[in-house]
């Protein structure tokens, strides 16, 4: 009996120590940009849009697991492997694309942060640079463990979306059935929006981040199984949060036929139906989603830089030692903040550009994941299963469609 408890206690402790990369990466996929997409989708299609959530969850779980497995087995990041096996030219091209797409996402997240600040009557011109500078200093001066705890605090704030959903008094029965039973026909516009949501959830930076972050945590091969569970759990949590966000918007704005342009709009617009407190909750959620998003995405660029070019880069290292790593982080955050604060910058256009590059680069990343995860020299006996390969190939097709549809949608004006 004692032994039984002892064993479970031990397992639980290991599991707790390993928790982090899967949940953080997956939840960060619901960044400020993501919340905007979900709000727009839910206000346009209501519960009908829920049907795509389970496929997204599977897609996210499978692709993230492959990236994390490569990092644990090969003890190398995706960028490390690309540079070592495909040479410097391809490495530079990939890095430039990743830098651009990540920059666009950082801009969107800082813009979300800015909108949330305005929502609470705080002057963004004053507070935004302060917050970003504070965040940067925090990341520089603390180690991996502390930064990870901070990420978890940010993740906890996503609970506000759950609360908003309850305040919206939705039809829970309909919401849940919509997850599995298609409601209504599929129009081109529905398809377009659905695929945009796939694009904000399964991202280029997500693939690089999970991999670098797992590597930085130094998870060992014996804990591969726990890590896999954690990643699946992360996908589940993320999609659950998406579900509640969508419920909050669908039950209010869709029901009353109110169109919105972004997440801050949504926060304001739900007040008449769910109360002022719901607006506050939604706004707080957006604020923390912006913080989590901009740090995680800018960190991805920094990790990728140090892997592609071989410089020291770890949250556990000092600024002196990982100078270029932290400088990359600073550059992304600074440019992101400046662009987001420029008057007259079209966030809509930046979103389009980001989605387009994302669609361009993701199939390439999946190709690399496929190559590395099936290479016995890299993975030993931990190569991909057939199912995982099919999922990867399927995702690549979906993502290519997404970026093509994005372009076509832009031209046709869906």
């Amino acid at each position: 009996m004692y032994y039984f408890f002892y064993r479970w206690k031990r397992r639980l402790l290991i599991a707790l120590a390993l928790i982090g990369p899967g949940i953080i990466t997956a939840v960060a996929d619901n960044d400020a940009a993501g919340i905007s997409s979900f709000s727009i989708a839910a206000s346009t299609f209501g519960y009908q849009i829920m049907i795509i959530l389970i496929p997204i969850m599977v897609l996210l779980a499978v692709t993230q697991e492959i990236g994390a497995r490569i990092a644990i087995v090969a003890e190398k990041g995706l960028a490390d492997l690309i540079r070592e096996r495909y040479g410097v030219r391809l490495a530079i091209a990939m890095y430039l694309l990743l830098f651009l797409v990540n920059l666009a996402v950082v801009v969107m997240d800082v813009a979300g942060l800015k909108a949330a600040l305005s929502l609470f009557g705080l002057n963004p011109t004053m507070f935004l640079p302060m917050i970003i500078a504070g965040l940067f200093a925090f990341v520089v001066f603390s180690n991996y463990t502390i930064v990870e705890r901070f990420f978890f605090v940010l993740v906890l704030f996503y609970i506000t979306y759950v609360a908003s959903a309850f305040l919206a008094k939705p039809d829970w029965g309909q919401a849940v059935t919509s997850l599995v039973i298609p409601q209504g026909g599929i129009t081109p516009r529905f398809f377009y929006v659905a695929i945009a949501i796939v694009g904000t959830t399964v991202t280029a930076w997500g693939q690089f981040f999970i991999n670098s972050y797992v590597k930085d945590k130094r998870i060992t091969l014996e804990h591969l199984r726990y890590n896999r569970i954690e990643i699946y759990l992360g996908a589940l949590i993320t999609v659950t949060l998406t579900f509640f966000t969508m419920v909050a918007v669908a039950a209010t704005l869709f029901t009353h036929n109110i169109a919105i342009a972004d997440a801050a709009d949504a926060a304001l617009a739900i007040a008449p139906f769910a109360g002022a407190f719901a607006t506050v909750l939604f706004g707080v959620g957006l604020l923390f989603a912006g913080v989590l998003g901009c740090i995680v995405v800018a960190l991805t660029t920094a990790y990728a830089f140090s892997e592609f070019f071989g410089y020291s880069g770890s949250l556990d290292e000092s600024f002196r030692k990982s100078r270029l790593f932290y400088t990359t982080l600073l550059v992304q955050l600074s440019i992101g903040t400046i662009v987001a604060m420029l008057p007259g910058v079209s966030l809509f256009r930046i979103t389009l550009i980001a989605n387009f590059i994302n669609g361009l680069i993701l199939p390439v990343i999946f190709y690399f994941l496929y190559q590395f995860a099936n290479n016995e020299a890299v993975m030993g006996r931990y190569t991909n299963t057939k199912f995982q390969n099919w999922m990867l190939a399927g995702s690549a097709v979906v993502i290519v469609l997404a970026s093509l549809m994005g372009l076509v949608g832009q031209v046709v004006g869906w």
């Binding site: 540079r83 040479g87 410097v88 030219r89 530079i92 071989g310 410089y311 030692k321």
Partner: protein
Amino acid sequence: MLYFAELSGKRVVSADGSTIGRLTDFAFLATDQPLVTKLRVDTKVGHILVPVSSVAAIKDVVTLTSGYETVGISENELSVRIHLLDQQIIDIKGNKVVRVNDVVIQDKPYLVIAGVDVGILGIARWLKLEQWLNRQISRFGTSLRSDFLPWENIQPLELSRGKVKLKREEAKLTKLAPEDLADHLERLSVKNIGKILDLLPNEYEADVVQNLHVSRQRAFLRSIKPEHAAAILSKIDPDEAVDILLTLSEHRRALITPHITPEAKNQIDYLLSLATTDIGNLITTDFFTATPNETAQKVRHRIKTETTLDKPLTYVYVINEKKELIGVCNLHELLLTEGDAPIYKFMIQNVVAVYLTTPPEIALKKMVKYKIYSLPVINEKKQILGVVTIDDVVEEYQRIAN
């Protein structure tokens, strides 16, 4: 000095000029002296490995000898592309330092990996942007230098385990400027030359010594047994042999000469007997020097403004900060080279030079043999003292003959 980025993809032709394929990789020995042993050539029907002994020349194209061999890979051989290029360099404590951006290969006296380029120019070279980048940077009045890690910093044993590991901590690394790299390696190889000669086929022995810089030849011959020195001297060109002998003390010379093979000894004795006058009174101190990082454009400009026609100028001598002679470049090359190329990239590194002890006859023979119009005269520290020109030497020769 050759860069892998510039060699990779070069056309490989046979002795009659027909294309065989493209150069894609080198095999090298994972030792303290990383000799390049084989070239990988990708042909239309797969790839072949060619031993370096079958390579006639590496210029714009790689020319193989007629009847070149193809071989397989052997144990203890690693690939530049797989084991070195793009790999992560870690220091002795396991810290990440940087990646290998390019691999630097020394071609004289034998093909050997000199070190790795870890600087931004190493990356620019792959993108064919090196010249452009240099040009842009020079607009701001400064210049980019490559960062080299000489081979001696790398643990060869770790390479076969897939790691480019350094022998020391990152903070204690010595990075060298490219122009000093060859010199640095030569200094090392004097120490290790015994090992190299063991690795190389015997007929290369003389070649290796002959191609060492003069000051190194002397150091080397003093470091080995007289019998061994004599064996090497017997194989090399008698003019060279005499020149090297004359730099040694009489005592040392007396120890070596009895062991020289009879055929070589006759010629060497004859040449030594000529060595009655030295070259000192033929020296002129009018010569033109440049520093390794000066661009062709700048050197051309300096020649225009700083020299006059009454003092003839045929070569530009390149000297480093320690005033050591590290290279030479003739005017034709200087004219043909792109303006923004630094001189160290196109200078000839193994300079034919003479000592104050060198007899004018031997200087003349060297001039004729290498088709050189003036020779630098250097001291033991490799510093240039002056030059002797062909007209002065010929005059002296005629004077003696009369």
